[in-house]
C-alpha cells in the first residue's frame, strides 16, 4: 500500500481524488483515512492501494501507527507555498515518520511531493530538499537531547538518523528518497488537468 502523509492542508486528499478520478473535488480536512485501489495510467494491469491519512496533529500519529506496517511506499506531501513558514513542523513530522522503528525496518520508498506548484510563490523541490536536510540535522540533536520519556524509552527513539558526525543528507537513509514537484489543482484551474506526471511515474516504478 502507498500512504499519503503530510501536514494539514498540504493537499493530500485532493491529490488522492485526482489520482483516482482525474476530477477536481472540493475537500475538507480529513478526520479519517480513505483508501482505494489505483490503476496506473501507463500500465493498466498493475494496481496499488492508495491510503490517504489525515494530517491533523491529534490524528496523524494514530493513523500512522495503524497503517505503517502495511506501507510499501510513502508519499510525503509538502505545501510548497507555506513551506517557509511551516518548515519546522514539516521537518518534525518527517522526523517522526523516519525514526519510527517499523518504517526503518521496512524501509519503504519515500517520495517527497512538493505540492501546490501552480502558485507562483511555490518553492522548488531543490530548495525544499536543502531546507529539510538542514532542519533534520538540527532536529537530530535536539530530539535526542530532549528529556527521556516517562517510562524510560527515549523520545527520539534509539535510532539515529543518518551518519553521526556528518551533516544529515537524504542519501544517508536506508530507503530511497526522491523529490518531485506536482500540483494537484493544475495550472489551468479547477477544470484542467493536474500536473501529476512525476508522481505517476514514481508510482509506476514503485508498484
Amino acid at each position: 500500500a502507498v500512504l499519503l502523509l503530510g501536514l494539514c492542508d498540504a493537499g493530500k486528499t485532493l491529490l488522492f481524488a485526482r489520482l483516482l478520478s482525474g476530477r477536481y473535488r472540493d475537500t475538507q480536512t480529513s478526520i479519517t483515512d480513505s483508501s482505494a485501489v489505483y490503476r496506473l495510467s501507463q500500465d493498466k494491469s498493475t494496481n496499488v492501494t492508495l491510503i490517504d491519512l489525515p494530517g491533523h496533529e491529534s490524528l496523524r500519529l494514530q493513523f500512522l501507527e495503524r497503517f505503517k506496517a502495511a506501507a510499501r511506499a510513502i508519499v510525503f506531501v509538502v505545501d510548497s507555498v507555506a513551506f517557509q513558514r511551516e518548515v519546522k513542523d514539516v521537518a518534525e513530522f518527517l522526523y517522526q515518520v523516519l525514526v519510527d522503528s517499523t518504517v526503518l525496518r521496512n524501509a519503504p520508498a519515500l517520495l517527497i511531493a512538493c505540492n501546490k506548484q501552480d502558485v507562483t510563490m511555490a518553492k522548488s523541490a531543490k530548495l525544499i530538499q536543502q531546507q529539510l536536510e538542514k532542519e533534520l540535522n538540527t532536529l537530530r540533536v535536539t530530539r535526542s537531547a530532549a528529556p527521556t520519556s516517562l517510562d524510560g524509552s527515549a523520545t527520539g527513539g534509539p535510532a539515529q538518523l543518518g551518519k553521526k558526525g556528518k551533516d544529515f543528507d537524504f542519501s544517508q537513509l536506508p530507503m530511497k528518497v526522491e523529490f518531485v514537484e506536482c500540483s494537484a489543482r493544475g495550472s489551468k484551474g479547477e477544470e484542467g488537468e493536474a500536473d501529476l506526471e512525476g508522481l505517476e511515474k514514481w508510482l509506476a516504478k514503485v508498484a
Partner: protein
Amino acid sequence: AVLTAPLPQERGGNNSFTHEALTLKYKLDNQFELVFVVGFQKILTLTYVDKLIDDVHKEFRDKYRNEFQQKGALGLLNGTFDFKDDFMRLLRDAEESSKVRAPTVMKTFEQSLKSQKTVKCMIETRGEKPKEKVKNKKNKGSKKDGAEAVAAPSKASAGDKQLSAAGDKEELTKDEILQKNREEFFRRHMKAGECVASPKPDTQKEKGKKPRVWDLGNSNAKVLDYSNTATNGSAEACPVEEFDPDMALGDKNREPGRLYDLEYESDDEAEEEKVVQNPSKPSVKKGGLGGMFGMLKGLVGSKNLTREDMDPVLEKMKDHLIAKNVAAEIAVQLCESVAKKLEGKVMGTFTTVTSTVKQALQEALVQILQPQRRVDVLRDVMDAQRHRRPYVVTFCGVNGVGKSTNLAKISFWLIENGFSVLIAACDTFRAGAVEQLRTHTRRLNALHPPESHGGRTMVQLYEKGYGKDAAGIAMEAISYARNQGFDVVLVDTAGRMQDNAPLMTALAKLIAVNAPDLVLFVGEALVGNEAVDQLVKFNKALADHSMAQTPRLIDGIVLTKFDTIDDKVGAAISMTYITSKPIVFVGTGQTYCDLRSLNAKAVVAALMKA
C-alpha cells in the same frame, strides 16, 4: 476546517459548536462515516435546525446508501451527489413548519396549560422565575426578524466527511438560493414582525412553565430539576444573551443514570413530531429491559451500537476515569464524545460492546494528549540564539506546586545542552525565594564550572531583593540577558491562587509587558478537579488583562510531582483537555535529573489499567 476543532479534540459531546460569528451544528452518522454540518449566524437561533439535520441525514443516507455500501471511497469520489434539490425541498419544509406553527401554538398551549395545571404545579411555579430554555418555535420566528438588522444571511451547508465530493460543490449555489429564500422569508415577516415581538416576554413566561407540565406527567423526582430538563431542545435556545447551549448540555450530561438519557431522547422526539395539541407525555420506558438483552446480543454477530448498549459501559468507564483522578466534568464530556462517535456504528463479530467502547476511549485519550503544536524547546532556543535574543520562559502557577524546583531542573537540562541561563527572581513575595534560587545557581555552577564551558558562567541569578514590582524586574532581567548574551531567561514568579484578582492582574501584566516566548503553567499531578478551575481562571486572567488582539495565553504545562501518584494520572488528561496545550515537561522527583517528557501511550495505558 471547522471540524478540526471539536471532533479530533474529543469535544464532540455537544453537537453544536461556535466559530467566529457562526454556530455550527453537526450530526455524525457512524455507520457510513458521514458528518452533516449546518451553519448559521450565531445571533439567529433557528429552531428547525435540528429537525433539518435529521431529515437531511435520513434522506441522504437512504438515497445514496447503495453507493456507500458497495463502492466505498471510490464511490464517494466518483458519485455525483445531486442532493441540491432534495436539500432545498427539506429546507423549505422545515422553514414552513416553523413559520406555520408560530401563531397557532400559543393558543393551544394556553388551553393545555390551564387544563393540566395541578395544585403541585401551581405551588412550584410561584417560586420559579421563568426559565429561558424554551422550545418555542414562535419565539425564534420573532427573534429572526429582530436580528434581520444584520445584513448577512445565514448559510446552511451540508458536507461529507471524507471526500466531500459534489456535496461541497453545491454549497456555493445552495448558498445563493438560501440567501434568496431568507430574504423572501424576512420580507414576508416584516409586517408581522412588530406584533409578534410584543407578546414575546409573555410567551417566555408561558413557555417557562411548559416543561414543567411534562415533568409532572413523568412524576420522576429527578426530573423535577428544572434547570436540566428545560434544555429539551438542546441548543435550540432562546434569548441569545442568556443561554449558553454548551453549558446547558453539559449540565444535562452530569445527571447519572441511563433512564435520564432516554428521557432526553424521547422528549426530543416528541418535540420533533411537532405535537401541536396537548403536549403528550413522552414515553420513557423505552430501553429499560432492552439494555440487558443488548449486552447479550452484543457478544456475537454484527449489530449496530445503540445508546442503551453503550450507557452502562460508559458509566463504568466514567467512574473508572474519575477514580483515576480525572476531573469529573471532563470525564463526563469525554464519555459523551465517545458515545456520539460510536452511536450507530456497526460492530464486527465477536467484539463486545465493552471492548469497542474501551478501544474508542483509549484512542480518544491518546488523541487528547497529542500536542497540537510542536514541543521542542531546544529547537526554539536555537532559533532565538540565531537572532541574538534571549529565549524567555515564564513559570506561573498556584502556591506550592514546584515552580522553583522545576525551574532549577530545567536550567540544569539546558546547561547540559550547552545553553547559558539567566534566572530572574521575580518572586519578590515569598520569604526565602531569592535565597533558594541563589543556592540552586551555586550548585549548578559547581556542577558545570565555567572552565568546562569555555570560561562562561552558565547560570546567573538576576535579583533585586524583596517587595519590588515583578514585571519591572523581569524586564530588566531580559535586557540584561540581551546585553550579556545569555541564551535563555527563566522567570520565576510567586505562587498565587487563581481567585486572587489583584495577584492575577499582576501576573497578567508581567506576561503582557514582557511578551515571553513560552508561558508555562506549573501544575501538580496530585490536583483533581481543581486543575480545571485553576487553568480556566489563569487563562481568563491572562486574556482579560492583555491589551493585544491575540492575548498571550498559557503555552504549555509542566506536570510536577508525578512520582507521588502511582497510576492515578488523570490530572494530565484534565489539564490538556481544558487548555488544548501540550504537557512540555513532567517532574518526577526533587533532584536535577528528575525531568521527563510526556509519553502519551504510557499515560493512557496507566489510565485504562484496571
